[in-house]
């Protein structure tokens, strides 16, 4: 209890020195983390500053609408919501088909703020959810990297993640999409996994399962976690790193994780029945077998163990083969081998283009080009290999996990550009490790070559040698000594102390360290170059955030010699729809605009971005590719009143419906064989000029896009296709134009109602057939009596 008097004078001074340094390091790293959070938040605010606080793109509008519903009606209504304003005759079960994590998070945030009497609107909360969670994500990266390599690497990785452009692109203020919270959930789950692996505590295993549950709620990419973790466990077993901590980290996660995943309505029983989860069950069995084998090995003698092995192997192998054969037969009997279409397209990149054109048509699902790697992760692209090497010295369970994570994420990012987002945290972690190690080596070399500091080193060595006996045990047993090192400066000295522990004599240490140090000039210049590298990275990230990724695609701007032009046509069109049509009117457009139409115009749509029903989309695609009369009939059968078309020819907006037309033809032709793609092609190309095919010139999309277009400049010059249009003067017979926006970007047409009287047919024939069944007459009336 009472310390001996002789050491009272010496021990407190040592104690104070070390704890003072640790305390200072702790406070410094706390402030650094706070600044990193502020940085992550503020770098994403460019779009709010340049444009306004508005929700971007297409998918976030759906999430925004769902969040509005949640805040208005409450959570029970939300879970049981059947939405009848999309997919018009079919409707959509929102409760069962949406990943609820994002909306529940934002709804909770809104409710919390409002109950504290901070009256933020739902839109504001939705817009700023993503930057807040990116700050959390960078803190989670700090925690994760600290578990792998130490606090210095943690701070570097957190700073890198706060700014990495790939993550910024999907989490700017206004990008209210699943990835905003899902990346935070991903990193946090991995952090808890590594923490459990390092400590072997069941408490962290429970937290790991709960974090995994949050990830399953948030994003379909949770299958990445449930396949990566079994791969890592298998890797550890195969490389002989099995320990009982591995069992504790994996087995409860699988059981609890599967249960929690099955709780989420979107996943439901897929958690046990689809092939995406089979890897986890297989490794679950393997881990049990391995654990049992180690247990038996522990209680038996080596000779008996050999006997046991021969016995078991001969019997068990037969049973195993039988079970595996049954399983393979079960899985092979389903045509997709139990995988969902999206996952299968990840494993086999050519799958989607052959079988599911909708998946292939999304631009985010294309493979990335080489420049996009440099654009999205910039400097990290060549720091990553250095980080991988640093992970191998020394190799621990945690660093092997990081290596596996970066390898798999590089592969998947090569398949789909959207998955560069999953690569970003891995790249930041490995680059953080690399940079931190490099800084460590250089600063240590400098420190030992400056004359004043090296004598200090010897004094420190003498002082702390008495306390090293205790420290030695800690340093050897766990990596926890690194956890107490909060700052790089304290880490330098602590590392030096640890090295002193290993070699008892101080002189030999100092000499040895002089041999390990790099020349002074080289390390100074290298430090400066590394700082310059960081500066380039920061400049690029800020540029990317400001110029490349902050555009809310709902508002477009262009710079010309007159100044800034703002194209607000989309909102103009949706506002017109909202104010000038009935609440129950149905609007047909291509599926890209479905979410925005339901959210902003509040009208029922036929198809939207969820793209769950291919046939319905093909119906709309066929209608757009057919001549006016056939299209009118299709739309009339769907109760459509208005048709919305996006046209960029006047201003040069390249993502308009004519450019998407080839997908309408392909998807429509995939279901309705009378739409044949070669009918629209001239020499293998889609053309709208005078060389276009007659089918193309007569189809609805052409007519609705170019109706009266020749009145704008007299020649009908399409700025996107860079030609004059083929058919310039024509009238619409079944549609009438009701609204065209300021820059002709959105054009809204109304279906003309069918005429009451049929011209041309005599009344006699009509009265003769009046006695026949009325459905037949009604059918004739519906059949559009034009011509």
């Amino acid at each position: 209890m009472t310390a001996p008097e002789t050491s009272i004078t010496t021990v407190p001074r040592l104690y104070t020195n070390k704890t003072l340094r640790n305390a200072f390091g702790g406070v410094l790293s706390f402030f650094i983390l706070l600044l990193i959070g502020v940085l992550a938040f503020s770098i994403r605010l460019f779009s709010v500053i340049k444009y306004e606080s508005v929700i971007h793109e297409f998918d976030p509008y759906f999430n925004y609408r769902v969040t509005q519903f949640l805040t208005k009606k409450g959570i029970y209504e939300f879970w049981n919501w059947f939405d009848d304003r999309t997919w018009y005759p079919l409707g959509r079960v929102i409760g069962g088909t949406v990943y609820p994590g994002l909306t529940l998070t934002a709804g909770t945030l809104w409710w919390l703020l409002n109950s504290l009497n901070i009256p933020l609107s739902v839109e504001t909360v939705c817009v700023f959810t993503a930057p807040i969670f990116s700050a959390f994500a960078s803190w989670a990266t700090y925690l994760l990297t600290k578990e792998v390599k130490g606090a210095g690497a943690g701070l570097t990785a957190a700073a890198l993640l706060a700014m990495v452009p790939s993550y910024i692109s999907r989490s700017v203020a206004g990008s209210y999409d699943n990835e905003a919270v899902a990346i935070f959930a991903l990193i946090f789950t991995f952090y808890l996994y590594i923490k459990t692996l390092n400590t072997g505590s069941l408490f962290y295993a429970t937290l790991n399962s709960i974090a995994y549950f949050y990830m399953v709620c948030s994003w379909g990419g949770y299958t990445f976690i449930i396949n990566l973790i079994p791969m890592h466990v298998l890797l550890c077993i195969v490389t002989g790193r099995y320990s009982s901590r591995l069992y504790i980290v994996y087995a409860p996660l699988v059981v609890l994780g599967t249960l929690l995943a099955a709780l989420v309505p979107v996943v439901g029983f897929n958690a046990v029945m689809t092939s995406e989860h089979f890897a986890s069950f297989l490794v679950f069995i393997i881990v049990h077998v391995v654990a049992f084998v180690y247990y038996i090995k522990g209680i038996l003698s080596p000779k008996m163990f050999k006997v046991a092995v021969t016995l078991v192997v001969s019997v068990g192998l037969a049973v195993c083969c039988a079970v595996i054969a049954v399983l393979i037969a079960l899985v092979a009997s389903s045509p997709t081998k139990g995988w969902s279409g999206r996952s299968l397209s990840l494993l086999d990149p050519t799958y989607a283009s052959k079988y599911i054109p909708i998946i292939a048509s999304v631009s985010e699902h294309q493979p990335p080009t080489w420049p996009s790697y440099f654009m999205d992760i910039n400097v990290l692209a060549f720091l990553v290999p250095a980080g991988i090497i640093a992970c191998f010295l020394p190799l621990s369970d945690a660093s092997s996990f990081v290596v596996l994570y970066i390898a798999t994420s590089v592969y998947f990012s090569g398949v789909m550009v959207r998955l560069m987002l999953v690569l970003a945290p891995a790249a930041c972690i490995t680059s953080g490790i690399a940079l931190s190690q490099a800084f460590d080596v250089f600063t240590r070399s400098i420190k030992f070559q400056l004359p004043g500091l090296s004598s200090n080193a010897e004094v420190h060595a003498g002082e702390t040698s008495s306390a090293t006996a205790e420290a030695q045990n800690d340093a050897v047993n766990t990596g926890k000594s690194e956890e107490t090192l909060k700052d790089r400066s304290s880490r330098k000295s602590k590392k030096k102390e640890r090295e002193h522990v290993e070699k008892p004599s101080t002189k030999a240490k100092v000499e040895k360290k002089r041999l390990l140090a790099l020349p002074l000039e080289a390390s100074v210049i290298s430090l400066l170059l590394l700082v310059l590298l960081g500066a380039f990275y920061v400049v690029h990230c800020v540029w990317a955030a400001a110029e490349a990724y902050s555009a809310p695609s709902i508002v477009l701007t262009s710079h010309s010699h007159d100044g800034l032009h703002v194209f607000d046509d989309f909102r103009e069109a949706y506002a017109w729809l909202r104010h000038n049509t009935d609440v129950d009117d149905k609007v047909a457009s291509w599926w890209d605009y479905g979410y925005q139409t339901t959210a902003m115009a509040n009208r029922t749509v036929i198809v939207d971005n969820n793209t769950w029903n291919n046939t319905h989309i093909a119906t709309v695609g066929t209608a757009m590719s057919s001549p006016e009369k056939a299209a009118w009939e299709i739309f009339h059968s769907l109760d459509v009143k208005y048709v919305l078309v996006v046209f960029g020819g006047l201003v040069g907006y390249p993502s308009d419906d004519i450019n998407k037309f080839l997908w309408m033809v392909r998807i429509g032709g995939g279901v309705f064989p009378h739409i044949k793609e070669p009918d629209y092609l001239r020499d293998g190309q889609y053309r709208i000029d005078s060389q276009a095919t007659p089918t193309m010139l007569n189809c609805l999309m052409y007519k609705l896009s170019y109706y009266r277009f020749v009145e704008t400049d007299g020649k009908g010059f399409d700025r996107v296709r860079q030609t004059e249009i083929g058919k310039k003067y024509f009238k619409l017979t079944h549609f009438e134009e009701v609204f065209t926006t300021h820059h002709w970007m959105v054009r809204i047409y109304k279906l003309k109602p069918s005429k009451n009287r049929i011209r041309g047919k005599t009344k006699k024939s009509k009265s003769k057939t009046s006695s026949t069944s009325s459905p037949k007459r009604n059918g004739r009336k519906k059949k559009n009596p034009w011509h």
Binding site: G200, S201, L202, F203, A205, T206, S209, I210, S243, S244, R245, Y247, I248, A251, P252, V255, L256, T258, L259, L260, A262, L263, F269, V272, A291, I296, G298, I299, L300, S301, K303, M304, V307, A308, T310, L311
Partner: protein
């Protein structure tokens, strides 16, 4: 026939003990060991394994079983209780699977939650056993009360989820 067998066994045993070092004591109780294999399990079993190739697998199995039993008998009683609990949980899970095979899996979520709750508690009990086992070097700093508290907490979360999923 048996006499030939005995003669052969004696000769092989002599060769065996010229290789092994602990021959002096063993020679004295030669016959004793040969008759009672429980005295020195390892030497006798090794001897039998080398000698009897015709009845080897059955004898091996018996010898293995005996050695397993004696090794297991020496585990502390608290670990044995945990093992009993694990066995009970797995047995319950098996009963549920058999029941499902007979009756059909209609409320599939109930079946899933029932089986996974049994498997879950078994897994957690094994984790507890790992952490409480005094021979385990990695967990010698962990007080068993903390391990039990973690076990209870994890079970609580598991059963909360089970109750929710049971329908």
């Amino acid at each position: 026939m048996v006499w030939v067998f005995n003669y052969l066994s004696l000769n092989c045993w002599r060769d065996f003990f010229t290789v092994k070092k602990r021959s002096e004591e063993e020679v004295a109780i030669e016959f004793g060991v040969f008759i009672e294999k429980r005295r020195s399990e390892e030497g006798a079993i090794e001897f039998r394994a080398k000698m009897g190739r015709t009845s080897s697998s059955k004898d091996d199995a018996q010898a293995l079983f005996h050695s397993l039993r004696s090794a297991y008998a020496s585990t502390p009683i608290n670990l044995k209780i945990i093992d009993l609990y694990v066995g009970f949980a797995v047995f319950t899970a098996l009963i549920q699977v058999v029941y499902m095979a007979i009756v059909g899996s209609f409320p599939f979520n109930s079946f899933l939650s029932g089986v996974l709750s049994c498997v879950g508690t078994a897994v957690l009990a094994v984790c507890l056993r790992i952490q409480v086992n005094k021979e385990n070097k990695e967990f010698k700093d962990l007080p068993p009360e903390r391990a039990f508290a973690d076990f209870v907490l994890c079970n609580l979360v598991l059963h909360l989820v089970i109750m929710n999923f049971l329908g």
